[in-house]
Amino acid sequence: MSTDSAPSLEPVAQPLVRFDQVSLGRGLAKPAPDGVSFAIAPGSFHLLSGPAGAGKSRLLRLMALAEPPGEGLVQVFGRDVATLRPQERRAVRRRIGATLEPAVFLSHLSVWDNIALGPRVLGRKSGDYAGEIDELIKWLGLADLAGASPAALSGGERHRLGIARALANRPELLLIDTPGEGLDEADLRRSTRLLDGLARSGMACILATRDGASVGREWPRLDLREGRLTLSDPLT
């Protein structure tokens, strides 16, 4: 089923994310999507696709509380993000793992330290998270690069590093943006499978990519194109 999303909401019980009539207009190169409405359920995986400048990154930034919403309602974990107090905003952000573009990595730190940044700045003791980071880094195939600088990584490795860092705080909502260049189809398919696996374990995941078709058509998709958001789910 493919649905024009403008005025409608998918019927999701207790969604993790809910957009209602949100405008993504400011500063976009393409026709600006207005009145965007959708909901993301816990444990779901969505590809967010669309051409460059369509508003994918803006959508992710709004969900990650990286910028304030303009018009419309943005709810994350049931809270209207426009009315969050600073400590509530921090609490919500701690439940989200996000790698936004352009991805920022601390080049003076090792790959291991970049992944461990979240637990460190949230005040967890190193003994509590070191084992988790080791497991994560191995799972994402970066163990051999643990001591390397992020500047020395390839596009695919940097992408996986971003996923690892976003996962380090065990988030309930994972938002991953992909770079416009430097990521080949194999890397993208690998990331898609990883995130789909995570979603099956209960984490809601959204992967934004310019070319959703190359990943495959078997995933639920939020497609931003020509100023409209279209929801499609191959299973329904």
Partner: protein
């Protein structure tokens, strides 16, 4: 599976700026040394001023020294006899020799080259014309002597105040530099700070990373600067070892070393506050 190397772990979250850090440290060190030295001078001079005023006890100080065949002791005994005859025994007191008398005599107007063999008498209860009367009596009796107020007076107090203010101004300048440094640490790492804020880190924890750099600088520079100033005072004091306790006109004395600590405590407290203020304000602007 290959183990993750331990050396890859726990680098500094904020990018180190080594050359800049060293440059700031050296500036702070120079300021701390100068501030500590000024604090030693002001503190020692203030202590000496108070001590001398206590010894002079609001009286007039008569300094007598030897001339020709008459020794300093003989001249002092003669002056004592003459002055007691003029003003009564209760008003004239021959002070026991004390290292501070060199400065007491100098402040009362005795020539510096006569002080080694000088003796000091204190005369109380004279009016405003006391010094002039004393000087005419001493001159009439052909005594090599001077008479005057032992206090450095208003000009010395103002000088001590000016030195203390200069020392405090240096502490404030150091604090301003620490504030600027802490802000700079945050601004130079703005992307990392925004990233940490997006992860849900508390502003205070992020500010603490920059604050720690400022604190390390203020502690290290102040303590090393204080040690250098104390060393300078000690060397100075060894060069003029007989000037008595506290700062004299000729320079600091060994006990003045302790006044450098006053400056260090003030500079560190101000630095702590400045680092806190600078880092927190900068993080708040980025949030």
């Amino acid at each position: 599976m290959k183990a993750v190397p331990r050396r890859a772990r726990h680098g500094p979250i904020l990018r180190p700026r080594r050359w800049r850090g060293w440059a700031i440290f050296i500036v702070l060190l120079v300021l701390a040394t100068a501030g500590s030295l000024l604090a030693a001078i002001a503190g020692g001079a203030d202590w000496t001023q108070g001590a001398l005023e206590g010894r002079a006890d609001h009286g007039l100080v008569v300094t007598v020294w030897g001339r020709g065949l008459e020794s300093a002791d003989a001249a002092a005994a003669r002056a004592n006899e003459i002055l007691q005859g003029q003003f009564g025994a209760g008003r004239v007191e021959w002070l026991e020799p004390d290292p501070r008398d060199r400065l007491l005599a100098e402040l009362a107007g005795a020539p510096a080259d006569q002080q080694a063999g000088a003796r000091v008498l204190r005369v109380r209860g004279l009016g405003a014309d006391g010094p002039a009367r004393l000087r005419s009596i001493l001159a009439a009796n052909r005594l090599a002597a001077s008479a005057g107020q032992a206090s450095g007076g208003r000009s010395w107090r103002l000088a001590i105040l000016a030195i203390a203010v200069a020392s405090a101004a240096i502490a404030v300048a150091m604090a301003a530099l620490i504030l600027w440094t802490a802000r700079g640490e945050v601004t130079a790492n703005a992307e990392a700070v925004r990233l940490m804020l997006r992860m849900g880190a508390e502003r205070g924890r992020i500010a603490g990373l920059a604050r720690a750099r400022g604190l390390a600088l203020i502690f290290a520079s102040t303590l090393v600067g204080e040690a250098l100033a104390a060393l300078a005072v000690a060397v100075w004091a060894r060069k003029w070892p007989d000037q008595g306790f506290g700062l004299t006109l000729r320079g600091p004395q060994l006990p003045d070393v302790f006044w450098t600590g006053e400056f260090a405590v003030a500079a560190i407290i101000l630095g702590l506050f400045a680092a806190w203020l600078g880092a927190r304000g900068a993080v708040r602007r980025l949030a």
